[in-house]
Amino acid sequence: MEDNKTPEVYRKSSTHEKRALTRREFIMKLAIGGGSLVLLAGCGAKVTSVFDTGSGKQIYSFIAVDYSKCTGCRTCEAVCTAYNNPLFRDGRYKSDLGNPVHANIRVHSFNPDVDVPVTCARCDDIPCVNSCPVKPDPVTNRRALYQSGKYDLITNDTDRCIGCGNCVSACADSSVGILSQNPATNKPMRMCTLCGGDPKCLEHCPYEALSVLRVDTAYPYYRMSPEDIAEKLNKRWYNLNV
């Protein structure tokens, strides 16, 4: 059996210390001891985009999963969908009512018991965006799939999107394969929003399995498909080649 230890890259992650701390203190605490962690501000604190100052090249943040801690409980799916895609809303109260199938994080379950949550890897070469056949808008230079906002999130302009599914195939072919076509509109869904800087999945994962990390291609399962990740985990945990 290979070692089943937590890789160094997960040094800090969501933690139950939050129970004793306010959310703000929690984020501060993580930020102070952050190391490779890039934290997105919550609680109204000022948010700055994340740059690799050395090269000037833009590097994004993404939700990374520590598969040795994940239990497959799908709390992340439930809270992601409640925040980002609730089925019913009631005034200013977030409804907590979403169906996990609409979540931007997706837990793939396998037999033998392996659960593989995946979410957008924030690829630096944005294959999804580059595959979009819609002609860039002359003013904004945006296709129907583009990056926007302070986190340069993958965003779909549903008015201009033709529902061709190219982005979905591109994501599957050269990255995680998180995107899928909305069954009703054919337009892409499951683009992680980082929840406006306060990731719900990370906050509620009961097992501290999730982190916000600066993209690092050396990350052990980076941009791998859930099936490939499951294969690796099967080997590592059960010494199986499935």
């Binding site: 129970r19 239990t71 709390t75 439930a78 019913f88 199938v101 609409h102 037999n111 009961p206 059960y238």
Partner: protein, 611 residues
């Protein structure tokens, strides 16, 4: 508006496999207010469907129900449960006036199936009738189809679990299914989900009798709730309390060891089923306890839907003849029934037995109990090696046990008798063997021994599905458990053991239920549901002919004291037991002679319709 309540779809999916009629049936508000969901609502439905006693559990009329509860589908910690409710194929009363009398059966299973039923738009699924040939049901929101399962009939559960994902080409389906044991109507067959989560206690045989291999469900919806603000507040409280303090004893115990933690402690305390319940302490428990499991097999902790406790463990057998088996376990029940109760200390062999039991689809509690009985009968010379098809079924012989398990599932040779449960086996063997046939009403006792535990003895005796370790040892616990089982939440999330296992209390459960439904619930009203459910179950059993003589325990517990361990010499006292039972009936407002609930009690609980 009076009919304005929330948290439910207010419909049941009703599938008749004989006529292939598929319809949705409205659930009246009254039933929801009185029975909530899960075990409670299932009980009300079976009462309504089976209008007279003596209808065979394996007959097409017997409804097989999959009942989530009002918490199911919401991101509430540990709200993962579904209760399978049906008439039991395991139990029978002493009174033989009706040939097919039996109790109700309800079996509670975690995972993802219960929430998914609610996502698909139903508060429950009821299956009746019998398909002409092996079939399975696929439910995708409001599209419901009965499909041909002939190609899958005979398939073991692990293989089927993989095959069905391929067949449906979508891993978001949640499925539950039976194995060969259910197909062959082994009375204690179970229904499995994700290959290791099981609804046991006989419900698999009912599914098999309907020629139903599997149900797959997937949905995109969600029920509305009444008050979002109240819900968010109550949900936060539940999230903060359901685990107890993180890194406290409760989370630590479940996450690190699961229920297997109790293998060591209950053996130490003399409360474990050992050597067919002859002893309460197993001298070789260290070889199969949680620590050993962690060292030898476990690599991963896993959890049911939205559950922060992760009591399940999966692992691989790493050496010896059973190498490459990947499975979950042992848990307390499986580790005791296929370990200590059979004097098996070979950890890898036990893992293989547990894997096979699940793979073939049988209730490991009952199977371990039946095999323990055979081992004792063999030791006593009541059955011979020839009777056992040549198996040398001595204590601890794990290889014979593994072969025996397979014989049961396929009803091969002696397995054909063993498949009928320990009560039937001892009746066949006779020679006074009923003294050590460890069942109540025909359902085998679980892994908790009772020589030194009179409250648990009471609980086994009066439990409405036959011997049950989850019934509750006191009247208030029983009512609490019946109410919790009607919500769709796992009792591990509650404060069922206030001292060691703090958690969500009944008050907060009521608060959450109020926010979801818009109907006012407080703890009294909530607990009243539990009492109502328990009494309706009792009335169902009473109508089937169960009386005081059926609330009885095998002689072993009154006659043969433990010979070793912390509780050496412990024994139940018949007079004390009878006095305790008398007191129970009186407190319940049941007639101590017949066990019938008084009309006054029934009316007070709104069960006047049973009188």
């Amino acid at each position: 508006m009076k009919d304005n309540f929330f948290g439910y779809h207010k419909v049941l999916l009703d599938i008749n496999l004989t006529t292939k009629e598929i319809k949705t049936v409205p659930i009246p508000r009254e039933d929801i207010e009185n029975f909530l969901g899960g075990r409670g609502l299932g009980m009300k439905l079976i009462w309504d469907r089976l209008k007279k006693p003596g209808i065979g559990a394996l007959s097409p009329e017997n409804p097989l129900m999959f009942m989530p509860g009002p918490f199911s589908g919401f991101p509430i910690p540990s709200a993962s449960r579904v209760v399978v409710v049906t008439k039991s194929p395991c139990t029978s009363p002493e009174n033989k006036s009706l040939t097919s009398s039996s109790t109700v059966s309800y079996s509670n299973m975690g995972g993802f199936f219960g929430p998914e039923i609610r996502f698909a738009g139903y508060d429950g699924i009821l299956i009746s009738g019998k398909a002409k040939h092996p079939s399975y049901i696929v439910i995708e929101d409001n599209r419901v189809e009965i499909r041909d399962a002939r190609a899958y009939w005979g398939m073991k559960t692990d293989e089927f679990d993989k095959a069905i994902v391929k067949q449906l080409n979508n891993e978001r389906f949640q499925t539950c299914y039976i194995g060969p044991a259910g197909e062959n109507l082994v009375s204690y067959a179970c229904i499995l989900h994700t290959t290791a989560r099981a609804a046991g206690r006989g419900v698999g045989a009912v599914m098999g009798s309907k020629n139903l291999k599997a149900i797959a469900v997937k949905g995109t919806g969600m029920p509305h709730i009444a008050d979002h603000k109240k819900f968010s507040i109550a949900l936060k409280k539940v999230r903060d309390t359901s685990t107890g303090p993180v890194d406290g004893i409760k989370t630590d115990l479940f996450r690190k060891w699961g229920t297997a933690a109790f293998l060591q402690t209950l053996s130490d305390d003399g409360l474990m089923a050992v050597k067919n319940y002859r002893e309460g302490t197993y001298s070789e428990i260290e070889k199969i306890n949680a620590k050993t499991a962690r060292e030898k097999a476990w690599v991963r902790d896993f959890a049911c839907y939205c559950c922060p406790l992760a009591c399940k463990k999966s692992g691989a057998v790493k050496d010896g003849p059973h190498k490459t088996i990947v499975h979950d376990g042992p848990e307390y029940e499986t580790g005791t029934m296929f370990g200590a109760n059979l004097m098996i200390s070979d950890f890898n062999g036990m893992m293989k037995a547990i894997y096979d039991g699940d793979d073939l689809g049988m209730d490991i509690i009952s199977a371990g109990n039946v095999i323990g009985f055979f081992m004792e009968a063999y030791e006593k010379g009541l059955v011979t090696k020839t009777d056992l098809d040549g198996l040398d079924l001595i204590w601890g012989n794990v290889d014979s046990v593994i072969k025996f398990i397979s014989k049961i599932a396929y009803r091969d040779g002696i397995g054909d008798l063993a498949a009928n449960g320990v009560k039937a086996v001892s009746q066949k063997i006779g020679q006074g063997s009923d003294a050590f046939a460890i069942h109540v009403k025909g359902l085998e006792l679980a892994a908790h021994n009772i020589h030194a535990n009179p409250p648990r003895a009471l609980s086994y005796s009066v439990s409405n599905r036959g011997a049950c370790h989850l019934c509750g040892d006191t009247i208030s616990d029983q009512n609490f458990m019946a109410a919790v089982d009607s919500l769709g939440i796992c009792f591990f999330a509650t404060d069922f053991n206030k001292v060691l296992m703090p958690g969500v209390d009944k008050n907060l459960l009521g608060e959450l239920l109020t926010a979801i439904t818009g109907i006012d619930w407080d703890e009294d009203r909530f607990i009243k549901v539990g009492e109502r459910v328990f009494n309706l179950e009792k009335m169902f059993n009473f109508r089937e002919g169960f009386r005081r003589e059926d609330d009885n325990l095998p002689d072993r517990f009154f006659a043969e004291p433990y010979t070793k361990g912390e509780e050496k010499g412990a024994l139940l006292n018949k007079e004390d037991f009878n006095a305790m039972m008398d007191e129970f009936y009186v407190k319940r407002k049941w007639d101590p002679v017949t066990t019938k609930p008084t009309n006054k009690k029934l009316s007070e609980l709104g069960l006047g319709f049973t009188i």
